[in-house]
């Protein structure tokens, strides 16, 4: 019995990993196409029909590239960093329930596990910056740590709002609690909470307008400046996987997860569409806004988002206490 379950888990884990890598590879194409359209370009078009084979061509090309390890770098740290960066970014997908009963492990501490593991990416990031032994990379890594730990707090507070409203840490339970009314539709509370979640998410992913750790004009490519070939590809893969994973979390926490009209098997499609909408929103912001200064970035986190999300959390708690846990304590 247990071996049958283990085999099932084995197959499921294998399928999940491949699905994550395939989706993330194609999301890079989607972002490039989306950015191109926003700038009145066509984007990748030559490889395959409408450029659909571009990610595969990119992967093959990056595999054939020379893998340069700088002579002054700390070799072990430098080589291990992409691995340490990628694993947590893939592991977060393990707890996401894609539809009722369709997920690897819908843990009873799902939200906590997701946020804890996704915060681990910072270790790989700092290893990359430190191991490169390059001034740009090191500066970028310090800035990244500074920014990510600043924005993790409002991010977690915003993610706690649905937890208080739903009364559980199980992602599936939070989705079921939204049957009837999605959390984002709660007057004022839901919208502000979702907005805070989005801003903190963009900042925690280090994307424009919060990308001071990269800032092409001053730090070149930031912490990944010394990486080339497949190691660079792994870092990019991990970053996109993290964005997609957090988009799924946002869709589950605020946008009603797999709930939607139609039969139950449409749940996976509904959830993916909502996650895609969150991702496109983030991408839209990326290609519309300009980078802001370091002190402004930290000011937004500590002086605005942190008090705001804490107050929202208390308001959510007051709402739940006032309604007396009517939806079954």
């Amino acid at each position: 019995m247990t071996t049958a379950l283990a085999v099932r888990d084995f197959v499921a884990a294998f399928v999940l990993l491949n699905a994550v890598i395939a989706v993330v590879t194609y999301v890079t194409l989607l972002e490039r196409k989306f950015a191109a359209r926003m700038q009145s370009r066509i984007g990748p078009y030559r490889v395959g029909p409408h450029g659909l084979l571009q990610p595969i061509a990119d992967a093959l090309k990056l595999m054939m590239k020379e893998d340069v390890v700088p002579a002054t770098s700390d070799r072990w740290v430098f080589n291990l960093a992409p691995l340490v960066f990628l694993i947590p970014c893939v592991l977060i997908f393990a707890t996401i329930p894609f539809a009722p009963g369709l997920g690897l492990a819908d843990l009873n501490i799902g939200v906590l596990f997701f946020l804890a593991v996704s915060a681990l990416e910072i270790v790989g990031l700092f290893m990359a910056g430190w191991g490169s032994n390059n001034k740009y990379a090191l500066l970028s890594a310090m800035r990244a740590v500074n920014q990510i730990i600043s924005y993790d707090l409002p991010f977690i507070f915003a993610a706690l709002i649905p937890v208080v409203l739903g009364g559980t840490l199980r992602l599936g339970g939070i989705v079921e609690a939204q049957r009837g009314l999605w959390f984002v539709a709660y007057p004022l509370l839901g919208q502000l909470g979702f907005l805070a979640y989005l801003v903190a998410m963009i900042a925690a992913e280090n994307r424009v307008p919060f990308d001071i750790l990269e800032a092409e004009s001053e730090l070149v490519a930031g912490f990944r400046v010394e990486y080339s070939g497949m190691k660079f590809a792994l870092i990019q893969l991990a970053e996109y996987a993290h964005v997609i994973g957090t988009s799924y979390l946002g869709a589950l926490l605020f946008l009603g997860g797999w709930l939607g009209p139609g039969p139950a098997w449409l749940g996976l499609i509904w959830l993916s569409l909502k996650a895609l909408a969150v991702f496109l929103l983030v991408t839209w912001v990326r290609w519309s806004f300009v980078r802001i200064r370091v002190d402004q970035i930290l000011g937004i986190s500590w002086k605005l988002l942190l008090p705001a999300t804490l107050s929202l959390l208390l308001v959510a708690a007051a709402v739940v206490a006032y309604s007396g846990g009517a939806r079954g304590a």
Binding site: D9, M63, T72, A94, F157, V164, L314, A321, G324
Partner: protein, 116 residues
């Protein structure tokens, strides 16, 4: 069983990433020159390696993070058990957050949140 599944994802991710890191060493070219192996600094010769000293502001951010992070540790169980606690839990959290926010306001007034 759930932790076993998580462990499997971990193992698969590590295996795939390891394989992807290993494949280029088989097929990629390898032509090293001393200049190529220097740390990249936009074409200048690197004068010195980074010696590991940073602005003190990074350290203060880390300390502030720990303050609020401890607060967060109490918020997790509180958020889960909130339905059974009701108004009692609300008042308790208000007191707890109030004390911590006093410290936060102190940091703010002292200029700890200014980065310029």
């Amino acid at each position: 069983m759930e932790s076993l599944a998580l462990l499997m994802v971990f193992g698969f991710a590590a295996a795939v990433a390891g394989a992807l890191l290993y494949i280029p060493s088989l097929i990629a070219p390898r032509r090293e020159t001393p200049i190529k192996l220097e740390p990249f600094e936009c074409g200048k010769d690197p004068v010195a390696l980074p010696e590991g000293r940073f602005a003190i502001k990074f350290a203060t951010t880390a300390i502030f993070f720990i303050i609020v992070d401890i607060e967060l540790m109490f918020l997790w169980p509180w958020a889960v058990l909130y339905r059974t606690l009701g108004w009692f839990g609300f008042a308790e959290m208000l007191v707890f957050l109030g004390i911590l926010m006093l410290g936060f306001l102190y940091i703010w007034r002292k200029g700890g949140l200014e980065w310029d």
